[in-house]
């Protein structure tokens, strides 16, 4: 030790040294690595988009795509549209949303505003479990309930029920997070005005978290609209238009894709597969944009 302390003092350092060469090299290495990761992450995405757009855009320009069904059109024939599948997907998504959103928001409000103790922990745990359920399990569960136990037909409403199981945990999680972001101060400001708790939640907390909640709902919907397993198990495909969720088969974009994929060696079917895929992507995009616009309503104009 004595040797160390008595060694000659190191040359005095400047306080603001310039970056050392080693640090500069490490910095460059890290930057390159990050950029590479970004590229690797983006590549498949761009690739998918490119494939879908380049192969699917052709049919979308055709007005019959948006207005006609596939009724009477075999895989060998060109023509027909995706109207039956688009409407089916939208109907099922709407039913799913109408059922899931109140349940999910109610649960999130309970967990954030009221939930204490064991029951709340149990609910949180159940939501976690639901989040991890594979879609085919949700579908089989509804099948066991709807078809086996109750003896009902396989109809699109049952599909929506399975989708509800998948959508609720997503929306609960995101809504919970948004509600927790609302500062305590705001709640207290409202209580201090003599506003009861439930009214504070409805009129102050929810509006403040509104845009975040809407974004969460849109994410949940986007996830659910592309789900295929529940459709395969509970929602048989049809090439005709059907708007009744409680009677008869109803088409959806994923099952439409699946139908024509069986014959993808044939050009007309091959084209329709990609066009339907692109349509699904577009619908999800339009919904997200609508969600953004909707969430603007919640805030005061600047």
């Amino acid at each position: 030790m004595a040797v160390v302390t008595s060694s000659p003092p190191a040359p005095t350092k400047r306080l603001l040294e310039s970056e050392s060469a080693g640090r500069r090299a490490r910095n460059r290495l890290a930057t390159v690595l990050m950029a590479a990761c970004l590229l690797i992450a983006m590549l498949p995405l761009i690739w998918i988009l490119w494939t879908v757009v380049s192969r699917g855009a052709g049919l979308l320009g055709d007005s019959t795509w948006w207005t006609n069904s596939q009724r009477g059109i075999t895989s060998r024939r060109v023509g027909g549209g995706a109207y039956h599948a688009i409407v089916g997907t939208l109907v099922m998504a709407l039913m799913t949303a109408v059922i899931s959103v109140p349940i999910a928001i109610g649960t999130a409000i309970y967990l954030v505003e009221y939930g204490r103790g064991r029951f709340a922990k149990l609910v949180t745990f159940m939501v976690d479990v639901l989040t991890g359920i594979p879609s085919i399990v949700a579908a089989l569960f509804i099948y066991a309930l709807w078809v086996t136990a109750f003896g009902f037909q396989r109809v699109s409403f049952a599909v929506s029920l399975a989708l509800v199981l998948l959508m609720v945990p997503v929306v609960v999680r995101s809504t919970e997070e948004m509600l927790r972001l609302v500062p305590r101060d705001l709640r207290e400001a409202s209580y201090a005005l003599g506003v009861p708790r439930w009214k504070t939640i409805v009129k102050v907390v929810l509006p403040t978290a509104f845009s975040g909640i809407v974004t969460g709902i849109m994410l949940g919907l986007a996830r659910v609209m592309g789900e295929t397993a529940p459709l395969l198990i509970l929602g048989p495909y049809t090439s005709s238009i059907n708007l009744n969720p409680f009677d008869g088969n109803m088409a959806a974009l994923p099952t439409f894709i699946n139908q024509d994929r069986n014959n993808q060696a044939l050009d007309p079917a091959f084209d329709r597969v990609w066009a339907a895929a692109l349509t699904l992507i577009l619908i999800v995009m339009v919904l997200s944009v609508l969600g953004r616009l909707l969430s603007r309503f919640g805030t005061v104009k600047k």
């Binding site: 705001l186 207290e188 400001a189 005005l193 003599g194 009129k203 509104f210 919640g298």
Partner: protein
């Protein structure tokens, strides 16, 4: 219609931790009472027991009596929501509702309690903003978001929001601590104007402010970390600042402590 507050034998807890012990004091109506004392001595906690805001924190509870004229706030059957309509509160950080316009912020207390008549609301908004000395600055942009105002304006907006529901008592927890000196003066002037209508309690760390705005001052202290805060003395502000009865008070206000 301002009311007198009579506190006796009040303890306040967070779970098992006793934050305030055995406070008894009287707050006179139509006057300003300042609460001073070192950080952590329970001023905010005590203040929040006066409008039953303490109990919104999970595990928090209160024992003792807080009389508002002749009603005990902690009697069985007293609705905390009704208490909060009678005893208004202004917070340390300005907290206007971010989704609401200036107008809606001031009208919030009435609207959320079911008043819909536009004429009544218009009148209340104008009167409250005038009382908060803010009307002149905002009357031509009532539709703008409350958060578009400066910090000092926001705090006056919060005061307008609090007085709009016609409380009897106004509690202010360090209302100026986030504000610049000019806005602070504006709020101090406002407190002077408001005191002929309301009973006002203000928590402050600023001795000059306590001396400037208050008629009476209560000094609290704490024996050490983890110990509960206690009231040392309460009295006429001028008296207390010139001839404090207790050594601890003298040390604190002359800056030898805390």
């Amino acid at each position: 219609m301002a009311k007198r507050i009579d506190v006796s034998g009040l303890d306040a807890f967070y779970g098992h931790f006793k934050a305030v012990e055995d406070v008894s004091l009287t707050v006179e109506p139509r006057s300003v009472t300042a609460f001073i004392g070192p950080s952590g001595c329970g001023k905010s906690t005590l203040l929040r027991t006066f409008n039953r805001m303490h109990e919104v924190i999970p595990g928090a509870r209160v024992s003792g009596k807080v009389m508002l004229d002749d009603e005990n706030l902690y009697d069985d059957g007293v609705d905390p929501v009704a208490v909060r309509r009678t005893v208004g509160m202004v917070f340390q950080r300005p907290n206007p509702f971010p989704t609401m316009s200036i107008y809606d912020n001031v009208a919030a207390g009435l609207r959320l309690n079911g008043v819909k008549n536009k004429k009544v609301l218009d009148e209340v908004v104008e009167r409250s903003l005038k009382r908060a000395n803010l009307w002149g600055e905002v009357h031509d942009r009532l539709g703008k978001p409350g958060s578009s105002l400066s910090g000092g304006q926001q705090q006056r907006l919060c005061i307008a929001r609090a007085v709009a529901v016609e409380p009897q008592v106004l509690l202010m927890d360090e209302p100026c601590s986030a504000l610049d000196p000019i806005s602070t003066l504006a709020i101090e002037d406002l407190i002077q104007d408001l005191k002929d209508r309301y009973t006002i309690i203000i928590v402050t760390h600023n001795m000059q402010q306590a001396a400037r705005v208050s008629d009476r001052t209560a000094f609290f202290t704490i024996a050490g970390a983890g110990k509960p805060g206690r009231l040392v003395e309460i009295g006429d502000t001028a008296e207390m600042f010139s001839r404090p009865a207790e050594k601890a008070t003298e040390d604190y206000i002359t800056g030898r402590f805390g």
